[in-house]
Symmetry: C2
Subunit: 408 residues, 2 copies
């Protein structure tokens, strides 16, 4: 007899956008339940509900209090859980909904971006033991004092992964509008291949490199607690991609995927005096503007001066440049250059660690296509190059072929 598994499933806002779609999700959940599995289902607010609530708050005041903002935003998901529980009842299943506070999702008091402190799994476990499908509001929790909090962007994924960890689930299934993680963007590389498995670290590199399948926080949480995460399609029954611990099979593959981010700009400060504290001044000025910097490159200095470059979201480039002109004057640098027609191309793979020559093959591939490299940055399992935007897709296709990622 097959073992009865405990499965956590998560469905996002577009999967539960109206009554008809909620009934569809209920049917999908019911299929898994019929397989004899115990089920916890995490859902987001319906469709664009959360955006609507944010807009309503801004009709009241331009700067809403974060505590009251959380009170407001946390009203979205309980609508979905109640309706999904009703839809499951209508299909003849026992089901019970829980808000974040009810499932004991205890967070710190950092309103609108709270971090999970602990999850008391008792109520969920009691409902599962009573044969009920447990339906949980994603994105929300409460402090020890009962203040309502939300987890910030991608919070429902985090709820699902955290519940899977707390309940020691066999797998956490994240249903999305893509059917898994690919070796490259299939819109750019037609023979890109869906990966059956990928390691947490590779997924983390890919998440931060612009593949928007899973938020980094959820992957970090899954890695920390060893939760297997299955990314799969809301619309197809096919298996998707399992995000899991590295295993020996993975080591054999050097490069897993090629990612690219076309929404980047490059800013350089030229001939910065190379003395302690200058880098801190530069990045403090940028952080003060709430601009998130991605790659940072600084080469060795020459004659006591160095050039500092970094990439940032294209929309922030003008603002960053203005701030940096001022900083450049203050620290005695020569000036600021910027370019918002760049793309960042990366190769990712845990196998890279033990294989020399991967970066070299990347550079020679780009060179063979006549693509000039502006900046290079490497991490333990990724190599990234900034190139001219117009060569972005050519670079991805060339690297996908060079590393033989197609149809293995």
């Amino acid at each position: 007899m097959r073992r009865m598994a405990l499965i956590v499933q998560k469905y996002g806002g577009s999967s539960v956008a109206d009554a008809e779609k909620i009934r569809n999700v209920a049917r999908r959940v019911a299929e898994t339940a019929k397989g004899g599995h115990r089920l916890v289902v995490v859902v987001s607010a319906m469709g664009k509900t959360t955006d609507g609530l944010v807009a309503l708050a801004h009709q009241i005041t331009p700067a809403p209090d974060p505590r009251e903002m959380d009170m407001l935003l946390a009203t979205g998901e309980p609508v979905t859980i109640a309706l999904l529980a009703m839809a499951l009842h209508a299909l003849g299943f026992k089901a019970r909904s829980f808000t974040g506070p009810q499932i004991n999702m205890v967070t710190d008091a950092a309103h609108t971006k709270a971090r999970i402190r602990r999850i008391g799994g008792e109520r969920g476990r009691a409902a599962l033991d009573a044969g009920e499908i447990v339906v949980v509001a994603g994105f929300q929790g409460a402090t020890e004092d009962g203040e309502i909090t939300t987890l910030g962007r991608g919070g429902s994924d985090l709820t699902a992964v955290a519940l899977a960890a707390a309940l020691d689930a066999d797998v956490c299934e994240i249903y999305t509008d893509v059917d898994g993680v690919y070796t490259a963007d299939p819109n750019v590389v037609p023979d890109a291949r869906k990966l059956e498995r990928i390691s947490y670290d590779e997924m983390l590199e890919m998440a931060s490199l612009g593949a928007k399948v899973l938020q980094s926080r959820s992957v970090e949480f899954a890695k920390k607690y060893g939760v297997p995460v299955h990314v799969r399609s809301s619309f197809k029954a096919d298996p998707g991609t399992l995000v899991t611990r590295e295993d020996s099979g993975m080591e054999e593959v050097v490069v897993t995927s090629v990612t690219h981010d076309r929404n980047q700009a490059k800013v350089s400060i030229m001939r910065v005096p190379d003395r302690p504290g200058v880098a801190a001044q530069v990045f403090a000025a940028v952080a003060d503007q709430n601009i998130v910097v991605d790659m940072i490159v600084q080469n060795i200095s020459r004659d006591g001066f160095t050039d500092m470059s970094f990439t940032l979201p294209r929309g922030d480039r003008a603002r960053a440049a203005a701030v940096l002109e001022e900083v450049a004057r203050r620290v005695g640098a020569e000036g600021v250059q910027h370019n918002d027609r760049v793309a960042k191309i990366s190769i990712v793979g845990v196998g890279m660690r033990s294989h020399s020559g991967v970066a070299a093959r990347m550079f020679s591939t780009l060179s063979r296509e006549g693509i000039n490299i502006h900046m290079i940055s490497t991490s333990e399992i990724a190599v990234s190059c900034v190139i001219d935007d117009k060569y972005g897709e050519l670079a991805v296709r060339a690297l996908h072929e060079a590393f033989e990622l197609a149809g293995r």
Copy 2:
């Protein structure tokens, strides 16, 4: 120096229907707060939100589970409290919102029509002591186990009165779209007078007699705990009507008001055998159809037979008549008569207890106008007559004049 009062205010759904109206309520609350008073504000869901949620549930299933229905319905008010708190912040006031569970509104587990068990006033009191305006979600509570419940129709009024009792407030102000309680419907009797004060018992009679200012449950609660309730207009600053304990001044007035209900029908079962158990059979059959009966009149029997009459909402008449034809056959009655062109006219006043002749004056007034009385029923502080619908307004005007209710 004036004593600092504690005031509970309640605003209904139409007063908070959009962002602009919520800002208006905030300004009204701010005016009271500027007077140096401590304030608890109870609000309903915005406009028709609750109706919309009910409709959504019925898109999922015709018979939603009551627990899940409460989970769904309880999402409406937290939107309003968050927005009102934000609006008060924008006016420079300290304010903090609380859901029903957060303010410790503990109820029994009768989902969709829960009854209040107790209110832990600690959190509200702590916020008031910190100089904050306390904003509370009406209509909702939670069981001791943390299950979310709602209080049924008129639940937000009940929340306000119950909080006023728990916090020992000086007054509970209910803001509505009328500016108080009148001696008769001003649309019918142009010189009807707004009552400055009215007793709980009179208000209860009026509430059940079709004056829809306050739900009976809230008045009962206010009476039980001696909470003074001030019914007043959301749109005008004028004082409204204070619902309070009887005082010596009230006793002097025999009749306080004339009410009428035009939405009634009359059904009679003719020549019912007068033996034990027959009345029970008749009303059990009606109750099985979820039809709420209002007046019931049965006179003494003659030759072992009696006639039973009662009034009920006009929309239920056809259904009730069908059921009763069947019951009449079963118990051996002669048949069923019905009439949905009737109105119920009542006079209400605590002074009636100690004054004979009040009913007689009512009957003679109607007689003088040539109005025939179909049914009569009396309570301790009210006399009601069922008459032809077409004489309803004439009867109200004649009684209003006969009891000298205008411009005293």
